[in-house]
């Protein structure tokens, strides 16, 4: 099958346009399976306090798979906490890439765009390659790009909801208007959601819960990877326009008895 072009972002090229989130994965073995099945080139991790009794770290799994790691600042409610978390992730993992997440509350997990903008500005100035999770607000996405973020990551719908892309026009508008890669983040529930994201113009899709909490995670990873590719190809292929009325696909000339 024809494959997508690599995604150029932050000075690197990622073979796969599917980013894999590791939250919710039932075991490191399953994580390894999902990385392989998804074909992903970039895997997120969160930064948490060391626990002596913690189960194995996903880091070794990610490294064994030969893919990049993208630490996030999940759980932060302020720019200050997010910046510190990003600095710790760079120190611990040796990467300047960071998925910036600053949320407004712990119920909706929706982005706090004011704190996100503040953190993005500081992190860019500090030399980070910033991948900010944000709402589907066009003005904010543009500001994040203008601040020098490596990409913008608008949500489709709330984290873990599986509701897909609530406002497709808003996502399409961001894709048209922003010069950096757009990665659809949060809300993916199944394959068709991922295909739609790409058709709307996204450059990549991040899936976590949709894969890790599916009944068969590795199989869903394969499915969503195929869907990302399908959507990317479909966008490049130039879809037919939507028509309010029918258009015959069989000729009306040459009918019997006509």
């Amino acid at each position: 099958m024809q494959t997508t072009d690599p995604l150029k972002v932050a000075g690197d090229e990622l073979e796969s346009r599917l980013l894999l989130g590791t939250g919710g994965v039932p075991s490191l073995g399953t994580l390894a399976d999902c990385i392989r099945a998804s074909g992903t080139s970039l895997v997120t991790v969160s930064m948490r306090r060391v626990r002596p009794d913690a189960p194995g770290s996903p880091l070794q799994t990610v490294r064994d798979a030969g893919v990049r790691v993208l630490p996030n600042t999940a759980g932060c409610f302020s720019a200050r906490d997010a910046v510190l978390t990003a600095q710790l992730s760079r120190e611990a993992l040796g990467t300047s890439w960071v998925k910036l997440e600053v949320i407004a509350d712990d119920q909706t997990l929706l982005p706090d765009v004011v704190e996100t903008l503040a953190a993005a500005e500081q992190l860019v100035a500090d030399g980070f390659d910033v991948f900010p999770y944000t709402t589907d607000d066009l003005g904010v996405a543009r500001r994040l790009a203008d601040l020098g973020c490596a990409a913008v990551m608008p949500l489709g719908s709330p984290i873990g909801s599986g509701l897909g892309i609530s406002n497709p026009r808003a996502i399409a508008a961001i894709c048209e208007s922003v010069d950096v890669p757009v990665v659809l983040d949060a809300g993916i529930g199944t394959a068709s959601d991922a295909a739609l994201a790409m058709e709307l113009g996204c450059d990549a899709v991040l899936a976590a819960t949709a894969i890790t909490r599916a009944e068969a995670p590795a199989r869903m990873a394969t499915a969503i990877a195929a869907a990302v590719e399908a959507g990317w190809l479909a966008r490049a292929a130039g879809r037919i326009p939507r028509r309010e009325s029918a258009l015959a696909s069989s000729p009306f000339e040459g009918l019997l008895g006509s």
Partner: protein, 66 residues
């Protein structure tokens, strides 16, 4: 004297370096980062940085998530 390590009160007998603290507590020293009182202590400074009384020490690593 007592410091906080990842939110837990921890008694130490005298000011020690970050490097010694991690050893003493048997914490991992790879793939981790350390902040003391809200500022990152780069790995290259662990041996030179003392952890004083009432210090808030965070030792973090990568976990699943996101």
């Amino acid at each position: 004297m007592t410091i906080q390590v990842n939110g837990r009160p921890t008694d130490i007998t005298e000011p020690i370096t970050v490097q010694h603290l991690l050893q003493q507590l048997d914490l991992p020293r790879t793939d981790v980062a350390v902040a003391v009182d809200g500022a990152v202590v780069p790995r290259s400074s662990w041996q030179q940085t003392d952890v004083g009384p009432e210090a808030q020490v965070e030792v973090v690593t990568a976990m699943q998530g996101g």
